[in-house]
């Protein structure tokens, strides 16, 4: 490998590491034994929320304000990319006592 190419690679890597904090993150939320954890999560617009259903029954992640309604089959994951800032309460349509909150910053 030429030293010139190595410099380019190092530069690219350095740039992507530096750029990383500004890039969208994926936030993991787990549904297990009919409990959503964490019950309150913080995120930014552009971040992806990924819910994992560890139960043997199906769940949903359904926003009170109608922004999202993600179906989560048993032992499957589902995701949603946040588009708007604000505090969003969501719940499972099949088990309405499962509730949680997303705090979404701009």
């Amino acid at each position: 490998m030429s030293s010139e190419r190595l410099v380019v690679i190092v530069a690219v890597v350095a740039f992507s590491v530096m750029a990383a904090p500004a890039r969208a993150a994926t936030i993991q939320i787990v549904m297990e034994n009919l409990v959503i954890a964490p019950a309150e999560a913080s995120a930014k617009v552009g971040d992806t929320i990924e819910w994992t259903n560890k139960d043997i029954v199906a769940h949903t992640a359904t926003a009170d304000n109608g922004d999202f309604d993600v179906m989560l089959q048993p032992h499957k994951t589902g995701a949603f990319v946040l588009k708007k800032a604000g505090t969003v309460q969501y719940y499972c349509r099949f088990h309405p006592n499962m509730k949680a909150t997303l705090k979404i910053d701009q």
């Binding site: 043997i56 029954v57 099949f94 088990h95 006592n97 499962m98």
Partner: protein
Amino acid sequence: MLVRLSAAIAAMMFLNGAALAQGAKPTDPQIAHIAYTAGVIDIAAAKQALTKASNKDVKAFAEDMVRDHEAVNKQALDLVKKLNVTPQDNDTSKALTKQAADKRAELDKLSGAAFDKAYVANEVAYHKQVNSALETQLIPSSNNAELKSLLQTGLKIFQGHQQHAEHVAAELK
């Protein structure tokens, strides 16, 4: 009514341990049968509600019961197959089935809001009864670790159903 009441009391006594205590603890094949039967009963109740209920929250609740109890019973069947256990019919399963058949006949005579209320009230009572039996009898008596674990998972799900039913019942008032 007296007969029905005494049947219901008998069923509760069975579940509360009176009958089980006589013959000592239920065996794993009996526990599997009781748990599966309890699910079948709630699916039958929900299917009746899906044809008779008028309130949309009651219908949605009934759909939830079919979806969840079918999922749990599928796990139960997979487990007994894996463990090579044949679920064994027993007095508790028989009493539960009899109690449920009587209840369905009673509910069948109702319609509209009266049906909705009676169905949901029974769902609250039924889940309480089954959850209490799971907690105090079936889970402590089960020997196989996988069976115990499935019953514990079931209990969490059915406690959720009880809360959901209580919520729907409160909304109907």
